[in-house]
């Protein structure tokens, strides 16, 4: 679901970023006020789960791939506003270092995966948990909420793709950016997410949510247990296992719909490469597509996962330190 560079017009990107600015501001304010300082480093753990979830590609018949996001999972763990921040930071890291998702389309990607997904998912799962007051109700809520969240996000992405050829064409009538209209983008995106990718999101969310309830219940927003200063060894081991397992994502061959490179798009059936993609903005990343030239792909994947998780944990520990200094007491968390 990561929208690459030059698939959306600069105008669309600017609008989506402008929409996200108040969301980010609100999320930062809410998190500073409501999230206990001890839980701020947990944002890094949550962001790490989201980052790793997005590395497991799942194939769909037809040659496309997709992945879980984990936005609803983080919102169940530490709240939707914290989830917005965590997923935004994970997406920023992916765009800057790994080239997964564009820099200009960062606002649009955050709107879909850091705003729509976690908030829709959290709202629905809370509603269900409120009416089905039991442990089962929480898990049903997590499942339904995560499914609804990812599909809502996919729909938004499909609309963003689909309106490009309507609004931005050159003098010969060819699309300047994404060439597929709403009549194609919506069915294609929704088919994948209503089936395999939605199920993947449900499985990932429920599995990790159940694990966290057992391994570190203090991390969850709904248990009321005071946050511990250390991340439990079980959680660390689980993260390590996910990192080692990331090369499984390489088994899925093919490029996700809407994530083709400028050299691939002509072969998808339209017969030309849109001018906006040929002459558009390009950002040189350190580890493009989680691979390093000259090395087996699985090594690049594992290194990328290690770097991603480490950077996310470091960033949120730094934020925890700043918030702690500005607050009444310091945060000494490991």
């Amino acid at each position: 679901m990561h929208i690459p560079e030059n698939y959306l017009s600069p105008q669309t990107c600017a609008v989506m970023t402008a929409v996200m600015v108040p969301v980010w501001i609100m999320s930062v304010r809410k998190v500073s006020k409501e999230l206990p300082k001890e839980k701020i480093p947990m944002l890094g753990v949550g962001a790490a789960f989201s980052f790793l979830g997005m590395m497991f590609n799942i194939p769909l018949p037809g040659g496309t791939t997709g992945h879980a996001v984990g936005g609803t999972l983080i919102s169940l763990l530490i709240g939707p506003y914290a989830s917005c921040i965590a997923v935004s930071v994970a997406l920023l890291l992916q765009a800057l270092i790994f080239g997964d998702g564009g820099i200009l389309s960062f606002g649009a990607n955050c709107f879909n995966m850091a705003f729509v997904l976690p908030f829709v998912g959290y709202a629905i799962s809370s509603l269900i948990a409120k009416h089905v007051k039991s442990e089962k109700g929480r898990f049903i809520g997590a499942a339904v909420g995560s499914y609804a969240g990812i599909n809502a996000a996919a729909f938004c992405a499909a609309v963003e793709f689909g309106i490009q050829p309507m609004l931005f064409r050159d003098s010969s009538g060819s699309a300047l950016y994404c060439p597929y209209g709403l009549n194609i983008s919506i069915p294609v995106m929704m088919l994948g997410h209503l089936t395999l990718f939605g199920i993947a999101e449900v499985v990932y969310t429920v599995a990790v949510y159940a694990f966290m309830r057992k391994a570190q219940p203090s991390m969850l927003a709904d248990t009321g247990i005071k946050a511990k200063k250390k991340t439990s060894p079980a959680v660390k081991l689980f993260l390590a296992a996910l990192i080692v397992a990331t090369p499984l994502g390489l088994l899925a061959e093919g490029t996700a719909w809407g994530e083709w490179g400028a050299d691939e798009i002509a072969a998808t059936g339209i017969g030309y490469t849109p001018a906006g993609m040929l002459n558009g903005f390009e950002w040189k990343t350190l580890i493009p597509d989680y691979a390093v030239s000259g090395m087996p792909e699985w090594i690049g994947y594992i290194l990328s996962a290690v770097i991603g998780v480490a950077v996310l944990v470091i960033v949120f520990k730094l934020i925890a330190g700043i918030v702690g200094k500005n607050g009444a007491d310091e945060v000494y968390s490991r």
Binding site: K284, I287, V292, I299, V306, A310, V311, L318, G321
Partner: protein, 250 residues
């Protein structure tokens, strides 16, 4: 001004206190091994011709940093961030000359090297570092100079801090480097340093100290030391592998 001196003193004295607390608990890797490993990783990542090796070392260093306590991470990252920024500015012309990869690679190597040394500095107390230099075969005069420097930093730091406090109490208005009589403070500190050095020399002569350091802390070769040696061997083998790959590619 006082704050800067007190910050430096705090770091050195905390190191001292932590060393005393850790006496009798020699279960960690031998400091000399840690130091040798750090130098090896820095040298190999600097000479590597393939970005993959540096990325692998960077991943390991970042993972170690992520495991540190939240309050230690800002101190750890200051030096690597500053060095990388400087490196970025210096190599920026490479982007305009059509070689942005050069800027990225050099900056990444600088960041990795400085981060490894920052992690070493964070983990080892300065006394352990001095002892490790001795174990690694550094000339005794080098170890002696390093040890004396660290000790006099604390002594002179305390002395100049007291003078600055006296100046603050006697002044009216805001104190700056200009009006604090910095020349006088530095001059007094220098004279104190000369007297202290003469006294130290006389005391060492009386005690028959000839500038040789013996490490009286008993370290037993343990499984962690073996693990560190294995890691060094593995990293060296990986470095050779990446060099062979690069040679084949070219």
């Amino acid at each position: 001004m006082n704050l800067q001196i007190m910050k430096m003193l705090r770091r050195l004295l905390r190191s001292d206190a932590e060393l005393n607390r850790s006496r009798g608990k020699e279960t960690q890797v031998h400091p000399a091994l840690r130091m040798a490993a750090a130098f090896l990783f820095v040298i190999l990542s600097a000479v590597s011709v393939n970005a993959i090796f540096t990325i692998a070392v960077l991943a390991g260093a970042l993972l170690m940093t992520a495991m540190k306590k939240a309050r230690e991470i800002p101190e750890l990252l200051k030096a690597p961030a500053a060095a990388s920024l400087l490196s970025l500015l210096i190599t920026l012309p490479a982007v305009f000359l059509g070689s942005p990869a050069t800027m990225l690679t050099v900056t990444m190597k600088v960041f990795t090297s400085v981060l490894i040394l920052a992690l070493l500095n964070n983990h080892l107390r300065w006394q352990e570092m001095t002892a490790a230099f001795g174990t690694l075969g550094m000339p005794q005069i080098f170890v002696f100079t390093l040890d004396m420097t660290m000790r006099f930093l604390v002594i002179l730091g305390r002395y100049s801090n007291e003078i600055l406090e006296a100046v603050s109490l006697r002044r009216i208005g805001k104190k700056t480097w200009k009006n604090a009589g910095t020349g006088g403070v530095l001059g007094s500190t220098y004279l104190h340093a000369v007297r202290a050095a003469e006294g130290t020399s006389e005391a060492q002569t009386c005690r028959c100290f000839r500038g040789e350091y013996k490490n009286y802390r008993k370290y037993r070769f343990g499984i962690r030391d073996a693990g560190m040696i294995a890691l060094m061997a593995l990293v060296t083998a990986f470095f050779i592998y990446t060099c062979v790959l690069a040679a084949k590619a070219s």
